[in-house]
Amino acid sequence: MIDDGFRLLPEQASTHAPRVDLLYFFLLGLAVFFTVLIAALIIYFSIKYRSSNRRVDRTPGSGHALVLEIAWMVIPFLISMTIFGWGATLYFSAFRPPAGAMEVRVVAKQWMWKFQHPNGRREINTLHAPLGQPVKLTMISEDVIHSLFVPAFRVKRDVLPGSYATCWFEATRTGKFHLFCAEYCGTNHSRMTGCVVVMEPAEYEAWLGGGLANESPAVAGKRLFEELRCASCHMPEADPVRGPPLQNVYGHEVILKGGPTVTADENYLRESILRPGAKIVQGYEPIMPSFDGQVDEEQLIQLISYIKSLATP
């Protein structure tokens, strides 16, 4: 059951959550301090210098004090740069998945979340995850912009159509936590919700094994690769070699026609399947047809998973 008692702070259920909360408390302290300071000064001056109080000293000062003006520019500046550095450090780690994170594929559409685990097990609107293990989500939308938000993890990332977005978390508590769509996506936006179920690793393994016969995305991708006859150009044994071989492409630099280089990440591979003419590898001709419309988002994920499996990290 999701803990639904009244509370002032959301649960902390990831390694990231307490770090964000610490910064939040620091900011809260600052905000309370300055609000109280300003309110107290206003009230104090209002009482002391009320117009009916004729006994108070009102000899005008100079009207401005340079030292004071500089102080209340420099002090807020220094405080805000501290907050900036702190927030940026956490932000950096929030969007940089650690190496070796377990990868879950997410496809969002109006109005549901589709998840696929590394071994191929699929689920909708519920995401099972193991405790204490980094989980990376690679996400894409089939239609409009959505946003995956798990308050208990302090994690949120927009899910865009047309390109992959990633985020990650490492759960620190077992249980069931809210999962929301945070970016307005049409009529049933507020019903595009679900939950994350965090389980002990052994339980998770058992859960993964259940369900229907599963085929991992990489295996399904290999089958699709053959059905679409990609190998006839893209494998070293192809004769003649008309397309760049795909062994060890993922994660490595690719030299493009004319000299620029690009790192072959998931978005590059996706683009090369849908719009092959966009970036031509040096030494090859732009002869590949587009597969736009022939493969859907989930099949694209499978093909890319297969190409990833051909690379040694």
Binding site: I38, S46, R50, W72, G87, V144, A152, F180, Y184, T193
Partner: protein, 550 residues
């Protein structure tokens, strides 16, 4: 600040007919080029839009008292919050202070007879009304459900509602804003009374000038973004939708390049109003005049460099995120400078608490809270959590309602005697100001907690554990609504039954108080000559120590 001889001349002379009695026909209003009458036309139109936008919010808050969808259908709910946002932002807040108070007061403050381009001024009102009609048509025809932010590709490809009619309405209204801004810039440069140098200008003029720059430079970008949405929607030209080869993030960059500075279009004029009210009710010149003045320009400049802080979770590069975070902190500094200077202005004042002062102090408090929560949302990792939640909703309502609307109401009360020649009932007005302050906090403070707990914005149905805070918020909103209802009533009442106002009931500095209330069509019998700095309250109080406020 004007020479004593000018001040004396006005009160001794039998005033010419004032601008209100210069003609009673509908024609004399609809074809007027008098900046004061145009201000009244704007006042009526934006009040109408405020009521419509407020009613939409009322239904939204009523519906949110329960976690289920029970009062209206979800489609209707989505259209209501969109209508609320579109109307309040584009048809109320943006024109509010500039087009009503600015139109009325700027020429008077400068000692001018009108704005530089009176006919352009009238045109800008007609353009505003035309844009408004398109939007009202879109609402009546069936509404629009994209949210006021019109994010693509939902707006450009997927929504089946009246996106184009609404966008055309906003597109047209934008020109009204540009024309008003242009008019102010030229007027402030060219039409200041003899002796009214830049550093003798009232701070309201500084802030209106800074606002006008944003209006002129920013609004075209909004027009471009909406135009491109239209191109994609009507002609299928791929700009934002990846299916057509577009980039959805591009829309967000374009939209916020205008819409973040637009926040300052809403708040800077209010800051100007507060900078007028505080010196008057403290009977002294403001602390740090030039710092308050220049901070308006610093805000205007930085406001154009922070748009990317709306895109921290959108897929913008994380390095871009860092740059926008640091720039967002820089824009906070001039705002902090203003708050500190206003507070210090109270020191050694002779403070009285008439309604405008209550609004001004309320403004300082609420703007401080809104500004400080801005530090939260500019902190990258905290924003990731609170982005698109009720924390954001609370934050921008503290700025745009707690700030901008409080300043607007303060200004309306402050200049009401000048605009109408009547005094409003002080007791009712003070009571309403306090009611609004309390109701506002009860409505929006719970939303900060709700947001950090994780309730996303634009949710029609929500998990049960969020209900208590939602009920608190809705209860507060009913008090806030009542608070707004009172001024609407007693201000209209005062037109008939209010006490007759003297030319300067607050004994305030500023040229606008040196002419009759209400002013004659030509504003001044003879062009005033300024020999002193602004806010010379010692001089004023020395001349007439016994003068009463109301």
């Amino acid at each position: 600040m004007p020479s004593p001889s000018t001040a004396g001349a006005v009160s001794n002379r039998t005033p010419k007919r004032d601008y209100l009695s210069a003609g009673y026909t509908v024609r004399s209003w609809l074809l007027t080029t008098d900046h004061k009458r145009i201000a009244i036309l704007y006042l009526l139109s934006i009040t109408l839009f405020f009521v419509i936008g407020g009613l939409a919010a009322t239904v939204v808050r009523l519906d949110l008292m329960t976690p289920q969808a029970d009062l209206v259908e979800t489609e209707t709910f989505n259209k209501l919050f969109t209508a609320h946002g579109v109307i309040m932002v584009f048809f109320f807040l943006i024109p509010s202070i500039p087009a009503v108070l600015g139109n009325f007061i700027v020429p008077l403050m400068l000692g001018a007879r009108d704005l530089a381009f009176p006919r352009l001024n009238l045109l800008s009102w007609y353009v505003y009304v035309l844009g408004g009609l398109f939007t009202v048509y879109a609402l009546l025809a069936g509404g629009v459900d994209t949210g006021w932010t019109f994010y693509a590709p939902y707006s450009s490809t997927y929504s089946n509602t009246y996106v184009m009619a609404t966008a055309v309405g906003i597109f047209i209204t934008g020109f009204s804003s540009i024309l008003t801004g242009l008019n102010f810039i030229v007027t402030i440069h060219k039409m200041r009374a003899p002796g009214l140098t830049w550093f003798r200008l009232p701070l309201f003029i500084w802030s209106i000038y800074a606002t006008s720059i944003i209006m002129v430079l920013g609004t075209p970008v909004l027009a471009i973004s909406l135009f491109l949405v239209g191109m994609e929607r009507l002609l299928g030209i791929g700009i934002f939708d990846p299916r057509l080869g577009g980039d959805p993030i591009l829309f967000q960059h374009l939209f916020w390049f205008y819409s973040h500075p637009a926040v300052y279009i809403m708040i800077l004029p209010s800051m100007g109003v507060v900078s007028e009210i505080i010196p008057c009710f403290c009977r002294k010149r403001p602390f740090g005049y030039s710092f308050i003045g220049f901070s308006s320009f610093a805000i205007a400049v930085f406001s154009f460099l922070v748009w990317g802080h709306h895109l921290f979770v959108s897929g913008q590069s994380i390095y871009a995120g860092m740059v926008f975070s640091i720039l967002s902190y820089l824009v906070a500094i001039p705002s902090a400078v203003k708050v500190f200077n206003w507070t210090a202005s109270l020191h050694k004042g002779s403070i009285s608490f008439e309604t405008p002062m209550l609004y001004a102090l309320g403004f300082v408090g609420l703007f401080t809270m809104g500004g400080l929560t801005g530090l939260f949302v500019a902190a990258l990792a905290v924003d990731v959590h609170v982005h698109d939640t009720y924390f954001i909703v609370a934050h921008f309502h503290y700025i745009m309602v707690g700030g901008a609307v409080m300043g607007y109401l303060g200004g309306i009360h402050f200049w009401w005697p000048k605009m109408t020649g009547r005094l409003y009932p002080e007791g009712w007005a003070r009571f309403s100001a306090i009611l609004i302050f309390v109701g506002f906090n009860l409505t929006f403070f719970p939303q900060y907690i709700l947001g950090y707990l994780g309730m996303p914005r634009r949710y029609h149905v929500y998990p049960e554990e969020f209900q208590v805070l939602n009920v608190m918020s809705s209860a507060g909103a009913s008090i806030l609504g009542l608070g707004y209802f009172f001024p609407l009533t007693y201000l209209i009442w005062s037109l008939m039954y209010g006490k007759i106002a003297s030319p300067n009931p607050w004994r305030a500095a500023g040229l606008e108080w040196q002419t009759t209330s209400p002013p004659p069509t030509d504003n001044f019998a003879e062009t005033p000559v300024v020999v002193d700095e602004a806010y010379d309250y010692q001089h004023i109080d020395g001349v007439s120590p016994a003068g009463g406020a109301t």
